[in-house]
């Protein structure tokens, strides 16, 4: 495939806009605006219009917070791992994935603010020296969240932005007028000198190494919001890895769905091949097994310990009021991916999307089932309670899926959703067939043309 063809195909969504795009964006925008009104009404009327009340103070909002932070693991973490191992098939996938991280983190980070009765005082959560000397408590998991999420968000935005610079330069070169001016600014004077390429690749390597432990830490810290609290079935050391595994699991599912939608609607069939879905489908299968392993561990230890308050929560989810949700979760997160991704003929694009949709539902339920049954059934009967989500919570939580879709579509409209330069770099080499190893220090695995008769000594 020629470079011009790659440019034409991948820049088409930026330069051509159909009426369907405007219609779709308008519909999505209207839904998000409705959710905004719902949230404003909550701020105006107070938390009384939600189902959140003593003893269940964490409901749909904190469930969605944990869920979206988990989805954010789709991108940067997966992309960083694939970059480090230099997986060739990553090239069309990385940017699709990295974008999910940034938007999922933004949406997830909104929920602590949505969850505040007086959101205009959100800055009280930030570590700043206040005049009243009430400094944030650095030993609180909520402050850890602040640092972990913001570090991950900053790192992920930069990890997404840096490899976009050469693509911005391509758009700059192909556009005119205001669009040219905007992309000229975004391209930061990129020319594609060999020095610039080396620096960019070095930076991406370092960022990939740095971002992996940060990504793992983020969901571990989110798990600490629970495991640091003396609540039945929360105070367990397995929550850190359990949350991280679940996050990667739901992240891969989110990525598969996003890729399938992009492939269909942006006509990217020549770039996102079935093999990309099959490879990610295998990862989904591995994560389904890992998730099953963690659930088994968590359940077995609780069951064997037979502590009365923990067993009360255990049975609520296994065979009492929350049992339908629990077993739906098990089917969605374990049985469905195992069948669809484990049996080869089902590991198609459609199979991957069905399994991923199941995992998304299952992982949201998992977060809900960690939070609500435990909070509604603590140690003593005076603290037992029921949570019934109200319309405002359902609208706000549900609309975040629409917001994610809207942000993703708008992003794909202004930035090539597949990294053009990485795709070109991964294409068939231009060098001739006969090649010899380079004798440049540090480049023993590189090759150069054999025709070096003219090479400078």
């Amino acid at each position: 495939m020629t470079h011009s063809r790659i440019n034409t195909d991948l820049l088409r969504p930026l330069f051509q806009t159909s009426w369907r795009f405007y219609l779709f964006v308008s519909v999505l925008g209207a839904i998000v605006a409705t959710a905004l009104v719902a949230w404003l009404s909550q701020a105006y009327f107070g938390f009384g219009i939600t189902g959140i009340s003593w003893p269940v103070y964490w409901g749909f909002y904190v469930t969605s917070f944990v869920f979206w932070i988990g989805i954010s693991h789709a991108g940067t973490l997966i992309s960083a791992i694939l970059r480090l191992v230099d997986a060739g098939w990553r090239r069309p996938v990385t940017r699709c994935a990295e974008v999910i991280t940034v938007f999922a983190l933004m949406i997830g980070a909104m929920f602590p603010i949505i969850h505040l009765g007086r959101p205009w005082l959100a800055f009280w959560l930030f570590p700043y020296p206040s005049e009243r000397l009430i400094w944030p408590n650095f030993r609180s998991p909520l402050v850890w969240d602040f640092f972990a999420i913001n570090t991950y968000l900053t790192g992920s935005v930069l990890f997404l932005f840096l490899p976009m610079i050469p693509d911005f330069a391509i758009v700059r070169d192909k556009s005119t007028g205001l669009r040219h001016t905007i992309y000229r600014v975004l391209a930061l004077g990129w020319r594609g000198t060999q020095t610039q390429w080396h620096r960019l690749e070095s930076a991406m390597q370092i960022m990939a190494i740095a971002i992996i432990p940060v990504a793992v830490s983020v969901h571990t810290v989110v798990s600490f919001d629970f495991s640091m609290a003396p609540v039945p079935m929360w105070q367990t050391t397995i929550f850190g890895p359990y949350f991280v595994a679940g996050a990667i699991f739901s992240g891969i599912a989110g990525l598969l769905i996003a890729m399938a939608i992009l492939r269909r609607f942006l006509h990217l069939q020549e770039y996102l091949h079935p093999i990309h879905f099959q490879n990610l489908g295998k990862l989904l299968l591995v994560m389904a097994l890992l998730w099953g392993y963690f659930v088994f561990n968590e359940r077995l230890v609780t069951y064997y310990g037979n502590e009365p308050s923990e067993m009360a929560v255990f049975w609520r989810t296994q065979r009492e009021s929350f049992a339908p949700l629990y077993w739906t979760m098990v089917i969605c997160n374990f049985v469905l991916p195992l069948l669809l991704m484990g049996i080869r003929p089902f590991r198609t694009i459609t199979g991957c999307v069905i399994a991923s949709l199941g995992v998304i539902v299952g992982m949201w339920l998992e977060r809900f089932l960690i939070i609500v049954p435990s909070l509604g059934h603590k140690y003593l009967p005076y603290s037992f309670g029921i949570y019934r989500p109200q319309p405002v919570e359902i609208i706000v939580a549900g609309s975040t899926f629409v917001a994610m879709t809207l942000l993703y579509i708008l992003f794909a409209k202004v930035v090539p959703i597949i990294s053009i330069w990485e795709l070109k770099a991964g294409g068939p080499s231009e060098a001739p067939v006969g090649r010899v190893l380079l004798d440049v220090p540090g480049a023993s695995d590189r090759t150069r043309p054999t025709k070096m008769g003219e090479a400078h000594p």
Binding site: D173, G189, A210, S217, M452, H456
Partner: protein, 166 residues
């Protein structure tokens, strides 16, 4: 004259142009090669690989670590709150903040080094939009009048090369 450059269809032709420029007495540091993707398969793509970026990332990490330590120590000792009997300055929970800001420092150190060392955001001497279409540019910025003809000859020796002067 701002620059002379040639545009080539493939890496091999660009490599030959680079070699001819060297034979014409042009120093390696003066030869600029631009492409729409990394060209590490070629010898010219191996130039200027050395970078301080790793050290700058480590430096940024150390700075982040020191900032986190200072922030945690200052805030906790300024308003000592009893949290479950933990010491006023408790290492275990503070390690989380220290870790996060260390990594943030390393990331920011890397990005700042990239911006400075790759000369991002600065006005460029010359460029040709055909690079975006896959052409490989080999050129010299501000060549001396005495060697212009030699450079033009070196760049144009390859069939199919487009030589431009700006």
């Amino acid at each position: 004259m701002k620059a002379i450059y040639g545009l080539y269809d493939d890496g091999q032709a660009a490599q030959q142009a680079v070699n001819r420029l060297r034979s014409a007495g042009i120093a390696d540091g003066e030869i600029v090669v631009m492409s729409s993707h990394p060209m590490e398969d070629y010898e010219f793509g191996q130039k200027d690989k050395k970078t301080w970026m790793w050290w700058m990332a480590c430096g940024g990490g150390l700075l982040g670590m020191a900032t986190a330590f200072g922030l945690a120590w200052l805030t906790e000792t300024s308003w000592p709150i009893d949290v479950g009997g933990l010491p006023t300055f408790a290492w275990w929970p503070n390690l989380i903040i220290i870790f996060e800001l260390t990594m943030l420092g390393a990331i920011l150190g890397t990005v700042i080094t990239l911006v400075v060392s790759a000369r991002l955001g600065r006005r460029s001497d010359f460029y040709d939009p055909q690079v975006s279409d896959g052409k490989i540019l080999v050129g010299i910025a501000s060549p001396g009048d005495a060697i212009v003809r030699e450079i033009e000859a070196a760049l144009g020796a390859q069939s199919g090369a487009q030589v431009k002067t700006i």
